[in-house]
Symmetry: C2
Subunit: 279 residues, 2 copies
Amino acid sequence: MKIVAFQGEHGAFSEAAAFGYFGKRIKTLPLESFDKVFAAVGKTADYGVMPIENSIEGGVLQACDLLIESELKVIGEFVLRVHHCLIADPGTRLKDIKYVYSHVQALGQCRKYIQEMKFIPIAYIDTAGSVKMLKEKRLADSAAIASEEAAKMYGLRILKKGIETDRRNYTRFLILAKKSDVVDSFVKKNKGGSIKVALTFSTSNKPGMLYDALGRFAKHGINLTYIQSRPILGMPWKYNFYVECQLNGGNERFGETLGELEMGSFNIKLLGYYKSCER
Amino acid sequence: MKIVAFQGEHGAFSEAAAFGYFGKRIKTLPLESFDKVFAAVGKTADYGVMPIENSIEGGVLQACDLLIESELKVIGEFVLRVHHCLIADPGTRLKDIKYVYSHVQALGQCRKYIQEMKFIPIAYIDTAGSVKMLKEKRLADSAAIASEEAAKMYGLRILKKGIETDRRNYTRFLILAKKSDVVDSFVKKNKGGSIKVALTFSTSNKPGMLYDALGRFAKHGINLTYIQSRPILGMPWKYNFYVECQLNGGNERFGETLGELEMGSFNIKLLGYYKSCER
């Protein structure tokens, strides 16, 4: 049985994404940090699942940083519709709530509701983890923000459903593995479908490099779908970029193109290619 | 006397940036959120000071979102060297500390130290605010991360200085106002110096727009210094971009160039031009 590592406690959205991508017949491995998920893949786990971007809050920056440093490969993506619930002890009434605990991304996705209710947001390790903590500590003046499943799992009560700022609230997860397919057999397998590529590069050498690098992709008919700048530690105002590109069929020389990008002077690191699940 | 609004409590790094930019003869106005700082400028305050980027943690994403929506102008920038301290009640010893409170950005800037010490990070409204809270609640098992000034201001003890992950830890702040100078007189005043432009645009219409937009800047000899993608609410996987560009002297037709960019089909919104304080 495949073992899939994720950050958070059982009931986390990352775990839902793991089941969504691999199906129910896997063993999920909850870990407390993204670092530990990266470290586990290829050792105590076969795969890792990690959020990279949310449609309300934007990029998961720490995930980008880890991808830039890591030797793991991206082999897939999964988009999850994220429904947030306000969850508390069965004895807690809405008017008793002063503090609300959740993952910092979830707090951001529900910022409007939190402000309206005048709750004080407190960032906690994970959505489901904050439900578990609430149950253990029995905090009467607090609630957690997490999934319906997390509320059921830990036996707490849902006070309100759908508290995300916009109902089009999706989180995009990447599937990580130690090795990826050989590019040519991957392209053959997914012939006709839309293929995505994740890569990183730095623009630390000279000004204008971002434009030059994007020009290379454009030249090969590769369309940028996501870009995130990340600072380079110890080099203020110099950046690494995490980017995802889409290859809309018909590129027969995909492997060659990727090789050319990787060999260039842009310090491009290819993270992987995978079937796109975007519409 | 000028009134300058900032997010946080007295002793926050944003307040230090306000004094750094305007000098000591201003009245600072502490407010609890970025939203309130934006709302105050032109009403209860003359100016606002807001962090836009840190050299370890990267972009302050909520600041970008507010700039994209706001009608305020960017009129200056200030770079602050950020030294973080571990601060606790005089009765608390290092080995008593289980939880560490601070702004989420400060927690990120000290992530390595927090992990080494096995502290549980809890995100709080503000660095100096977490020191104030610690003093009021007298939490014996907790510490705060903030500036030396904040420790002095609230009479707590510094257990360790310089806990940021890299000593090249700088935060870049933007100065906000209701109106900006007329572009031509601004250019004349700063003749020979390096001028920066902050602007936003969206690429929601068609693929390849980012490359096209960057090409427009390149054509006019404008060099990109910072780019941050932000999701458009309700349009998953479509983006607004917040960008800063540098104009390295010699562009006599600066006003014209900006006007051309603004009039184009890229939905560019000019946020302001200001003297660069980058090296």
